[in-house]
């Protein structure tokens, strides 16, 4: 449609210069009109007349540009501008509000920006550490408080948590451990077979699954499943001001939300580890039977012989520690959510990444510790 085009023309006579604008001075025309305004040569020697009379429609974006045009032409007296009432009034509106609108803050130089960012990140890290220490202190206080006054213990919430993060995770953990058992047994048989020591595949399987893989698999699955859930649940409650509401009713979020999750998970993970161990060994045993033709009876005898008294308990002992790590980090990250949906997503991700990272760090520490005490 030809009528929707906006235009700007410059004409001049000996004594004066005539700038006229017309058509649609609206936001859709801005990309064409703006260069035209910016290209306009400034000529202070002659008086300029401005004619806005042919403008059919002007919106605030167009008025903004028109004001810039007048600025560029250094128009001082209103007599120089000829416009109809509608254009006048919208330009007056824009002019009134434009004055109080300041420009963006000045860009500081790159070096200062980098230093500023490092400083901000350092302060933030210190702040986070302090928050985390306070959080752990808070949990401990409430945990001890609950021991002192068992009435305050939220039994039903804890049971719900055991169901959600423990019981419901059984299928996936069983399946994964079963498959990993198969993988370990197959690789063991392949490599040890070269030495003619294939019977030791069973020793390898027993130690790997019971000491390390069972608990690690269970903990990593739970970190992904429950760690993220804790952070997202508590985080969205925080965004919705539900935590504040709890405080005003006299419920303590630590007691109502954090402790049931912590205790529930600490009780669930050892049992999940037991299940992971069981299915891992079954998977490995099946593979040994199929590939190496070792009968189940022989497998059980060799399996029991390969175990030291501590092998099983070392795996199980780690479980409550890992569970506590997952629950504390998940809840902590949930509590840290503030403001936007973006923050919720970021903290949920951090809950999972941090808890898997810490699980592996703790596993390494356990290995060193058991190595030092010699079991």
């Amino acid at each position: 449609m030809a009528t929707t085009i906006g235009w700007l023309k410059v004409g001049r006579t000996e004594k004066s210069r005539q700038v006229s604008a017309g058509g649609f001075w609206t936001i859709d025309q801005l990309s064409e009109l703006q260069p035209a305004v910016d290209r306009l040569k400034i000529d202070g020697t002659v008086a300029t007349d401005i004619d806005f009379k042919q403008i059919e429609r002007m919106d605030t974006a167009g008025a903004c540009l028109a004001v810039r045009l007048l600025d560029r032409l250094e128009v001082k007296s209103p007599q120089q501008v000829h416009a109809n009432e509608a254009v006048d009034s919208i330009m007056a509106t824009v002019l009134r509000y434009k004055r109080s609108a300041a420009s963006d803050p000045a860009e500081s130089n790159a070096l200062i920006k980098i230093i500023e960012r490092i400083g901000k990140a350092t302060l933030e890290a210190l702040d986070l550490t302090a928050c985390f220490v306070v959080f752990i202190g808070n949990i401990t206080r409430h945990l001890l408080g609950t021991v002192g006054r068992p009435v305050r213990f939220r039994f039903s919430q804890t049971m719900t948590q055991i169901e959600l993060s423990g019981f419901n995770a059984i299928p996936i953990i069983s399946l994964i451990s079963f498959l990993i058992g198969i993988v370990i047994a197959y690789q063991g048989a392949l490599q040890l077979g070269k030495l003619g020591a294939d019977i030791y595949t069973i020793d390898l399987l027993a130690v790997t699954i019971l000491r390390e893989m069972g608990i690690l698999l269970a903990a990593v699955v739970i970190a992904g499943r429950s760690g993220s859930t804790f952070a997202a649940e508590i985080g969205s409650m925080k965004l919705n001001e539900e935590l504040d509401a709890m405080h005003t009713i006299g419920m303590n979020p630590m007691e109502v939300l954090v402790l049931p999750r912590l205790i529930g998970l600490t009780l669930s993970l050892p049992i999940l580890t037991l299940i992971a161990n069981f299915f891992g060994v079954i998977g490995g045993g099946l593979m040994v039977w199929l590939v190496m033709d070792i009968s189940p009876t022989l497998f059980v005898i060799q399996f029991i012989n390969s175990l030291s008294p501590w092998t099983f308990w070392i795996g199980i002992m780690k479980a409550p520690v890992f569970a506590a790590v997952i629950a504390v980090i998940g809840c902590y990250e949930g509590m840290q959510v503030s403001g936007s949906a973006e923050s919720l997503g970021a903290h949920t991700t951090r809950a999972v990444v941090e808890s898997i990272f810490l699980i592996i760090v703790f596993d390494a520490l356990f290995s060193i510790f058991f190595g030092v005490i010699g079991i």
Partner: protein, 255 residues
Amino acid sequence: MTTTKGCTIKVCELVIRLGDFTIHDGLSLQVYNGEITSVVGASGTGKSVLLKTIIGLIKPIKGSIEIFGQDYNKLSSSEAHEVRRHCGVLFQDGALFGSLTVNENIQIPIKEHFKLPQKTMSELSALKLSMVGLDADVGNKYPSELSGGMRKRVGLARALALDPELLFLDEPTAGLDPIGAAAFDQLLLELQENLHLTVFIVTHDLDTIYTVSNRIAVLGEKKLLVSGTIDEVRSFDHPWVQDYFHGQRSRAINQ
């Protein structure tokens, strides 16, 4: 007299059902060019649902909706996109994007539809911000750092970003202090006069209704009870309408 005026929105025999619950059953409504139409009704009469249906967020079971003379449900997606560009919507809580600053929130409709230099967009967002009565330094803040009333104003600034011809406001003055609400009403009148806006307001605020509305539509009993000027609606014989316009709060305004 009004028959000579064109309709910006024409809703015909609308039926909306959410789940098993029928919200509107044969609702018809017209919004005329350049007018401010206020939609009122008791809580739960489906005012917000009507607004969402008109802007195309809820699909009606039956009935037609015309915006700028085009049936929204028959448009291709690019045509619908073009219609949207001429509509601005202010949601109840502002519905600002939490991960963007206030300035970016206001610039996002411009970025989506036009290619303009950053400087121009900053200029425009600063202008819109000052039009809704906020300081320029608010522009670099995130929505989570603002109060409810400020979020609402930023929401309006974003709705105005493209200079829409048709503006939808969902409870624009709820949660504002009376002075802020009055300023908002004045702003609305000024914008309507200068930009020839057509405005569709869902509101409970009697002050807003009396100050800015050219026309009032009352919803109830799953349809439009009455629509007309203030005086026409006030004299309409229906218990809820009588209660609403002759209740204590209304009397205080009339005095």
